[in-house]
C-alpha cells in the first residue's frame, strides 16, 4: 500500500498520470500535501538546471569528433600485415619521405617523435610481426631488448578505454639509435610505444619529445630502457605493458 502510494506520488511529480488520474489523485490531497508535492517538483526542476550547467559540447571536441567521423567515412581497406597493395606502398613511401625530411643523415631517424600513421589500418600494415604476445616477446629479444610484456587485455587501460588492441611491432631508428616500436589501437586511434636503451641519443629524443616538441604524451624509465607513448589520443596506460616496476613516469604538459 505504501509502495503503491509512493509510486503514484512519483508518477504525479513526473507528469506521468493522465488528466483523469491527476484529477482523482489531487482530489485526495490536503493543501499541505499539494504544496509539498509542488516543492518536490521544483526540486527536480532545480536539480535538472544544475546538471545542465556548463556541460555542453566544447567546440574543439566537436571539431575533433567531426574529423574522426570524416576519417572513418573514408574508404578503408582490410588491415593486417598481409593486406599489401598500392596503399601500403604509398604509406611506406610517405613515411620514408617524412623521416627523411627530419634528419640530416638519411638513416639516423627523426629528431622529434610523432606518429606518422593517422589510421589504425596504416599503422598495423607496418608491423614486422604477427600481432600476438609471443611474437612481440620474441621480437624484443631478437633485437636485444631485455623486457617482459604483459598481455594488453590485462592492462587497466583496457577496462577504461575501448578497442585497446596490440597491432604488432617494428624496428626503427631514432637519431641513429635502434628503437623498438610497439604498435597499438586505443579508442579507434593509432598509438605506439617507443622503447630505447637509456643513454642513447634515441632516449634523449624521447625525453625531449615529451617536453612538447612532438607527440610523446608520457615517458617511463623501465629497467635500463626508456619508453614513450606516442599519438594524439591520451593513452598513458599503455606504458603499463612492461612488467617491470617503473622507476619514473613523466607526462607531457
Amino acid at each position: 500500500m505504501n509502495r503503491d502510494m509512493d509510486r503514484l506520488r512519483q508518477a504525479y511529480i513526473d507528469g506521468e498520470l493522465s488528466a483523469s488520474e491527476t484529477a482523482a489523485f489531487e482530489a485526495r490531497l490536503t493543501p499541505e500535501e499539494k504544496a509539498r508535492l509542488a516543492s518536490e517538483m521544483q526540486f527536480e526542476i532545480a536539480l535538472a538546471d544544475r546538471l545542465r550547467e556548463d556541460a555542453g559540447c566544447p567546440e574543439d571536441a566537436w571539431r575533433r569528433t567531426q574529423g574522426r567521423l570524416s576519417q572513418y567515412r573514408a574508404p578503408r581497406r582490410r588491415w593486417g600485415r598481409y593486406a599489401l597493395g598500392l596503399g601500403t606502398v604509398a604509406a611506406a613511401a610517405s613515411l620514408a619521405f617524412v623521416l627523411a625530411s627530419y634528419i640530416p643523415v638519411w638513416d639516423e631517424g627523426p629528431a622529434v617523435i610523432v606518429l606518422e600513421e593517422r589510421t589504425i589500418d596504416e599503422l598495423a600494415a607496418t608491423s614486422m610481426i604477427v600481432a600476438d604476445h609471443d611474437s612481440a616477446q620474441g621480437f624484443l629479444r631478437e633485437h636485444g631488448f631485455d623486457l617482459e610484456l604483459v598481455p594488453v587485455d590485462t592492462l587497466g587501460i583496457s577496462r577504461v578505454h575501448f578497442g585497446v588492441q596490440f597491432l604488432g611491432a617494428r624496428r626503427a631508428t631514432i637519431a641513429g639509435s635502434p628503437v623498438i616500436e610497439l604498435l597499438y589501437a586505443c579508442c579507434d586511434y593509432p598509438e605506439k610505444v617507443v622503447v630505447a636503451e637509456q643513454g642513447t641519443r634515441a632516449a634523449e629524443v624521447i625525453g625531449r619529445s615529451a617536453s612538447g616538441e612532438g607527440e610523446v604524451q608520457a615517458t617511463r624509465t623501465v629497467g635500463r630502457y626508456v619508453a614513450g607513448v606516442v599519438g594524439t589520443h591520451r593513452a598513458h596506460g599503455l606504458l603499463d605493458v612492461f612488467s617491470e616496476e617503473p622507476v619514473l613516469t613523466a607526462y607531457a604538459l
Binding site: 502510494m5 509510486r7 499541505e32 544544475r50 546538471l51 566544447p58 579508442c187
Partner: protein, 199 residues
Amino acid sequence: MDEFEEKLSKHRHEFFRFILRNVWDSGMAEDVFSSAVLAAYDNRHKYTPGSNFRAWMYRILTNKCFVANRDTNRAFENLDDVNEKYVAVEDSVEYGDLLRDPREFLEHCGDEVFKAFRGLSTGQRTCILLRDVERFSYQEIAEILEMPVGTVMTHLARGRKKLRGDLLEYAREKGLVRSYPRLRPKPGDNDSQGSAMSS
C-alpha cells in the same frame, strides 16, 4: 554535412552533457562521445527515418557510458539491495528546509550536488538524467534502457532518495539546515480525516 551529421550537430550539446554527467571525466567524455558518434554512424541503417532520433541515439550513448563506467563497478545496482539509511529521508525534520526553497538549497550545496550525483549508481544517474534533464517519459526510458517501466521507477525513486539524503547530510554538517516543523503530522496528532499520503 549530410543529414545524419546535421542531426548529430543539432543535439550534440545534450548528447555530450548526458555523457559528461554519467562518466564525470571530461577527457573520457570526449572519447565516449566520439565513440558513440562512430557507433551511430555504423548503425545508421538501423535508424528508421521519422522515428525518435534522440531515443535511438540515447540507447547508443547509454551503452557506451555503461562500458566506460563498468571499471568503477557502478553498473546497474542489484534491486534487492535495500539502503535503509535513505528510506526515511522525507521523515527527517530538515527535509522541510530542502523543500522550502529547493533552488536556494541546491545553490547553497554548491558542487556537493555534483559529488552526490556522482555517488549514484550508473542506473540511477541514467534514469534521473533521462527523466529530469532530457524529459523522456517512463515508457521512453524503459525502451532506451530495455527494462520494465517499474524498474525505471525504482531506479528513479532510489536515486532521488539517496541524492536528497546525501545532500541533507552535507547540509547538516555545514549548518545549512535547521530544525523546521515537520510537514507531515506526527502520529497521534489531532488528525481525524487522515490523508492521501499517510500510510
